[in-house]
Symmetry: C2
Subunit: 333 residues, 2 copies
DNA sequence: CTGTTAGCGCCTTCAC
DNA sequence: GTGAAGGCGCTAACAG
């Protein structure tokens, strides 16, 4: 245990220069004579000096934080977004500061307030929709704001993602074109997850255009999972035995549906088609690759981080980056 | 955009009190007259005051950060640990500050240095083993240090987890007691993941005690995944066709192995037994629940956070909390 | 290329 | 129950 933490002053004294010179060397800013730099480096080394960022933040009125707000850590989707953010931030001095809302709008608001207390240079949120106060705080913060995943709303500053409504609609069109007519839906509680509802609405719209409607639908309480998918498909088939395709809110659930078919001896695709959403690895690893919509969560995170670094001041105009998606034909529909 | 960010001084002026009084109200510390408190509250409300934590940290020489270092975000294991940490921190003023090492010891060291610059009150690391410098920095930081996941090493302060060596050994004993004799192993690059190696070594030790040894083993480059498990099991069976049980480094890989058996028409358990590690949901959702070792990642994170909050000063003695594990019999072995 | 001056916004200590 | 003074460690702005 060192008796006391060395400060800039200590380093400066040891190196025989002023504090500001040490500060410049440490931050790599300003012109410094090679020899001076070397002397300072050695002093830093000797003392084991670690800069105090709280002091730096206070003095420069600019922290190196980027506040990141994610809805959930219950499946791999948002950790992937986070990986993308880290990737986009690599090599920059910025540090993500993470909050998790559990899909709760009030919690998002609290988390935002606490993140803002650290004077972040930007906020990246994948929280679904915001409370009015949240939106106001984002707007008034004056810092860059990236809203991730969907582009169906009206962004505060920058939105990165794609239209979930359109993805749902395209899924419906695709399945209709392949001859499916009797649709069942397996979802979860979408009061929290607005993107799930957008996809659902897009799907229903596509069906309506073809003069069709859902023959049955079931919703699980709580987070989606393979286990829930297994149970919910069984329930759906109990209520609507004659459907020819089941559309799932996401791949986790759809993979569970696949397992139900295996156990129940249902011929996947010919007996019952399955369709997911996300394009998770696990869905493509099962013996019949899952028919689904692939999106690139990693890319969404990375682009958001890169754009923010490239333009640290909030621009006058809002912008939307469409990262797109792709319908994977797969083998289950 | 507010013309200027209100500070304590602004609030104090509006409320007609001194700065320190506002500070006390905001932090909920010290004795304050109910009426004063109310007046201050209103002023805070009116101005939309948000405390500047950088200033607070600097002045009090104690930040509200807990540095968290995780090896990877490529599967659900560490997000679960993180959820546990958030759970353990709920209701406290502490905020996790996350770094991800990608299983790289040098990167862990860099991340640690940058986290320490924020004067965290504790460091929680699930990084595998440390460089010498990392260990020294942890030791000298003087703050609480929790090392998560395994208890096979010599902790700096607090370790929370269980012995992976013992878990590997118990797995071997269990499988031998069930009659398996010809073992194959499917792993990944464990230079990075020392816990995987500990389990492997435990397994091999159990085999040796019974006069057995591995009949074959394969290792994938890169992160583990179901897809890699599928491919690697095929490869293993090419090299060692007569094994009666395949032990996988983790459930992701084992689930992939299960899929290979489905596709290749191999009777799981009777033709080839499968054994995993972690007890992931997906492993328990497949038609034959995976035989595996269940650990509680959420609990590990939560306990670490709770213990740190309960005792914010580093105690004189190191401590180890064994969260245990459980062999799940499952249906694949 | 280097130094001086003057805070950043808050909290600790000590007084009343 | 409240306040005054001083400083936490660093950096912007301006000299030289």
């Amino acid at each position: 245990m060192p008796p006391i933490k060395p400060t800039l002053t200590d380093v400066a004294r040891l190196a025989g220069v002023s504090e500001i010179t040490v500060s410049r060397v440490v931050r790599g800013k300003g012109p410094i004579a090679a020899e001076t730099r070397e002397r300072v480096r050695r002093a830093v080394e000797t003392l084991g000096y670690v800069p105090n960022r709280a002091a730096g933040t206070l003095a420069s009125a600019a922290s190196l934080f980027i506040g990141v707000i994610l809805p959930s850590m219950h499946n791999i989707v948002f950790p992937e977004v986070l990986r993308g953010i880290y990737e986009g931030l690599a090599g920059s001095p910025y540090q993500p500061l993470l909050g998790v809302t559990e899909y709760n709008r009030e919690k998002e608001q609290e988390i935002l307030a606490s993140l803002l207390a650290w004077q972040p240079m930007a906020i990246i949120t994948a929280g679904s929709d915001h409370t009015e106060t949240t939106r106001r705080l984002l707007l008034e913060s004056g810092v860059r704001v990236a809203e991730l995943m969907d582009t169906d709303g009206d962004p505060v500053d920058l939105a990165v993602g794609f239209s979930h409504r359109q993805a749902g609609y395209d899924s419906g069109k695709h399945l209709i074109s392949r001859g499916y007519r009797r649709f069942g839906y397996v979802g979860h509680d979408w009061d929290a997850d607005r993107r799930a509802r957008f996809r659902y609405e897009g799907l229903v719209a596509a069906l309506a255009e073809a003069g069709l409607s859902l023959a049955g639908e079931v919703h699980v309480d709580g987070p989606s999972s393979a286990k829930a998918g297994t149970e919910m498909l069984a329930k759906l088939l109990g209520a609507a035995p004659d459907i020819d395709v089941a559309v799932f809110v996401n791949d986790d659930m759809a993979v569970g549906g696949y397992f139900h078919c295996l156990s129940a001896g249902i011929a996947v695709k010919d007996g019952l088609a399955l369709f997911g959403f996300n394009g998770l690895d696990i869905g493509q690893a099962i013996p019949l690759p899952l028919s689904t919509v692939r999106s690139d969560r990693f890319l969404i995170g990375r682009i958001a981080a890169e754009r923010i670094i490239a333009e640290p001041k909030r621009p006058a105009e809002t912008a939307i980056v469409d990262t797109g998606y792709e319908i994977l034909e797969g083998a289950t529909a």
